[in-house]
């Protein structure tokens, strides 16, 4: 399934869709040294892997990232980030305490 992302063109397409939101195959092909048909094929692989959704808008088909497969990474980042915020707050507090203990002053933060 994740063979879908082993290809650099597909990773580029995913990156574009994440950064710029839903796009048509035509718009994506403008940035790439390959034909629109080749881009459609890559999008099809990404769609088969559950990473991308296709939605028809009038005469156009727009492709968008499905966020679910990314959510583990995002959840990890949020959790690890919050843990570091707490740890560093404690570190700052501990060091501030120490400065005061030895008679130093600590400025208002």
């Amino acid at each position: 399934m994740f063979g879908a992302l082993a290809d650099p063109t597909r990773r580029h397409v995913v990156e574009r869709l994440v950064a710029g939101g839903p796009e048509t195959a035509t718009a994506l092909a403008r940035d790439l040294p390959i034909s629109r048909q080749a881009v459609v094929k890559h999008l099809q692989s990404l769609s088969d892997a559950g990473l991308v959704d296709a939605a028809r808008e009038g005469r156009e088909v727009k492709y968008a990232i499905r966020p679910e497969p990314f959510s583990d990474a995002i959840e990890w980042m949020m959790r690890a980030g919050a843990q570091w915020d707490r740890r560093l707050e404690r570190l700052s507090h501990v060091l501030g305490q120490k400065v005061r203990d030895v008679g130093g002053t600590s400025e208002e933060r």
Partner: protein, 134 residues
């Protein structure tokens, strides 16, 4: 994918370095308890405030400049953690980064773990990070 935090501490380099390398002081803020052999290759364990036990191994110790270690929960992925210190006018700037070295699974569900066990490279993880900041 990387977590990065920067903080200005009102303490000199030596005090901050001590807080980063002394097990007793580490137990005041990093976790409780923290036991670490503070030399390259040194092992240790850290129990964090959520009760999670991590095993750790020290990578580099560059006094008052840089400390790096790898840690991993009992059944989780390995991350590399680095601390970098820099003296400032009012004290010390500390930059912390944590970088997972493999796929992360937020929940240890079998399905999700299997999903992430597939080969994901750094770019793909970077993409996830970009999705987070949108």
């Amino acid at each position: 994918m990387q977590i990065r935090r920067e903080i200005e501490l009102q303490a000199d380099l030596a005090s901050v370095w001590h807080a980063l390398t002394d097990s007793d002081e580490l137990s005041d803020w990093l976790g409780d308890p923290v036991e670490l052999e503070m030399c390259p290759g040194g092992n240790g364990t850290i129990v964090d405030d959520e009760g999670m036990v991590r095993h750790a191994r020290i990578r580099d110790v560059d006094p008052e400049r840089r400390l790096s270690l790898r840690w991993w929960p009992e059944d989780g992925a390995v991350s590399e953690v680095t601390f970098e210190l820099c003296p400032t006018e009012g004290g010390t700037r500390l930059v912390v980064t944590e970088t997972p070295l493999g796929p992360v699974s937020a929940q240890a569900s079998v399905a999700k773990a299997a999903y992430w066990e597939a080969r994901l490279d750094t770019l793909w993880l970077r993409v996830s990070a970009a999705a987070l900041v949108r």
